[in-house]
Symmetry: none
Subunit: 212 residues, 4 copies
DNA sequence: CATGAATGAGAGTTCATTCAT
DNA sequence: TATGAATGAACTCTCATTCAT
């Protein structure tokens, strides 16, 4: 009875510089809190405590716990995209572009270990963003494959499924060698070796003669 | 997984046939409930309601909400293992074994679409099982790769990373073509095409001449 | 996200005798709590404290704070109806029936002083019940007026408006002489005098010669 | 109502013209906000939003949420008083004066439909004003009855109870025919018919011969 | 074994009020 | 005077778990 009549008063873009700073502090704190505890164990008060602001201030910037989580998912999704595109070199070969993308992703994951817990938990908290993230990423990879085919550097029958395969490979290599890496492993050396795996999937001269 | 004899009061194997049936009903109901809502949104009362038993009866068979979830994760983890091993044919080529394993996994995922939500959520609810599941699976794949190398059917420098790459590929192809498959897509045909992707990673005659 | 998926599990009729008793205790406690503090100042914990049950038990019987309030409004609305009908005497004159109804209402209000605060606050908490209460009551009065007209004991042009006028009269007399009565006033004697007021509105021999 | 000099910091009469305008805007906005949502669902930010001023500005003019509500109750209470007195005609008969008072009240309620929600909610927010409003109004009516008795136009035994009865009648007729009026009803015609109801209560020649 | 009422810690969210600019 | 960010107390509601029958 009147509880649904949400006041749309909150959660607009901050009007002042001070407001912008507070919003950033909350986002950073939330990254840590969600990364450490996961969405459900994390608490708003934990976030504000880390951010050093009062509990109520949270709601000046975000409508709900879900909302800040979604904002984070979007941030990280964009982070992955930017890491890949930032590593691109127009003069590189298609295969090299792919290698650099994986390498950049591994670096990004090493810097932001929370990303797995945040993106993965989106499957439960905000399934739409979760799906969007992977579908978008797959499309981006698919576009790179297409470019490689256009340049005739890749076999010519690559399709969506190959993009998903590459993506899965990258994600799991990141999980194993960036996030779960035993500190004693020479993670970087490993990653280099690893970065070459995709080659077999993509290059010409193999793969067409299916059959047993 | 330490589920036995922790608390002698409860959660032992049912002594009667009736008890065994009730336990099964709870497990099946939990699969649906967790699969639909995820761990945190799922409720014990939702599980017992679906199972058609009284709320209190739950605790006759499971100590906690976590316990039944863990039991499910173990079940599914074993299901994946059995699906792969069941598909094995001692006379098949190493590559074919790999193809059949993926195919069997895709079938399994199509039959048990909840598996992704349950295994994935274990990352948050019971990280140990989550990690165990993937490390075990990776080891299993690694063993197959080793067999292929022993038979000289695969290139001879495959290592753990390749197993993780294959696993990631399989998982994401399952997500895309078994769980998220557009019903209008010919999922089976797609899966077949897909099953050949691993080939480039594994076969000889390519991959050694690394370099840029 | 998932917060709206209300579990319809609660708030059914109690299955056991013990349950019925607890529900009654809550209803009685709520009458006092709402009557003393009004809906918004009242708290669920105040209700359960008065009832001597745990906070959570409240939700075994009522879905929300609104729900128990609505149950109370319905109870009181029926109480008013029963008080009036209980006072009816088939052999009494129409005017006497009206007098007795007011008298019964005053008695009821004296016994249940909370009624004003509860019915009145329904205007804000549950407008539908509020309106329903008064419209139903007005109809009941209207029916009595009609009976009086049929017996030719009342003037023959009484209509809905007269019923509302009588109702307003009764309600305000109740407020003044049952609820706000100075303890030193001889409330009962007063009420008798008062009970005769309606007479002028209803009897024949006056009222038609309108004009200034 | 003790609103002055409680806290010298704020809530004095605005010194500038601009200040007076802002205060007026707040009062008007509050009328709408309280009228639509009721006191508790209404919010200060809702009021300032409607008034088009900043949240903080509210406290330049009113000490608390209660304070502006009280100011409104007083305004409306005076509005009712002025409507009645404004309709008075020294040459009219006592009965006619009564009729005009009801008619004026109905007009006022039609113009200010919020009045019911605001006065009624005062019962919970500021019981003192609520009681004061009705006691004052009853006294005013009583004075008119006395005048009618003095002029020997009314029966000579009217007392406080009759004033409350008249007031209740008026209030409920207003609720039914001014606030809840079905737009399709000829509200004005109805109100005229209605305005004659009081007559039976007040005029001579009936009512003394009590008894059954 | 089964039942369902009882428990209470805990979390998200609201918003009147204050304060620095 | 005006602005809008900051504060924190308080409350409703959830649900895993316990317990008496």
């Amino acid at each position: 009875m009147g509880r649904d009549a949400k006041n749309a008063a909150v959660a607009t873009e901050p009007a002042t510089e001070r407001g912008r700073r507070t919003r950033r502090k909350l986002l950073d704190a939330a990254t840590v809190e969600f990364g450490q505890k996961g969405f459900h164990e994390a608490s708003i008060s934990g976030i504000t405590r880390r951010a050093g602001v009062a509990l109520g201030s949270f709601y000046t910037y975000f409508d709900t716990k879900d909302a800040i989580f979604r904002a984070l998912v979007t941030d990280f999704s964009n982070g992955v995209r930017d890491a890949a595109s930032g590593s691109a070199d127009p003069d590189a070969s298609a295969l090299d572009t792919e290698r650099r993308a994986l390498s950049a992703f591994l670096d990004f994951a090493r810097e932001h270990k929370e990303i797995y817990r945040i993106i993965d938990e989106a499957e439960f908290v905000d399934p739409a963003s979760y799906r969007l993230h992977y579908e978008t990423t797959a499309k981006r990879i698919h576009a790179r494959l297409q470019a490689g085919m256009d340049k005739a550097e890749f076999r010519d029958d690559l399709e969506e499924a190959h993009a998903w395969a590459i993506m899965g490979m990258n994600v799991f290599l990141g999980l194993r060698y960036a996030v779960w890496a035993d500190p004693s492993e020479e993670a970087n050396r490993k990653a280099d070796a690893v970065a070459d795996i995709a080659r077999g999937i993509l290059e010409k001269g193999i793969g067409s003669q299916t059959g047993t």
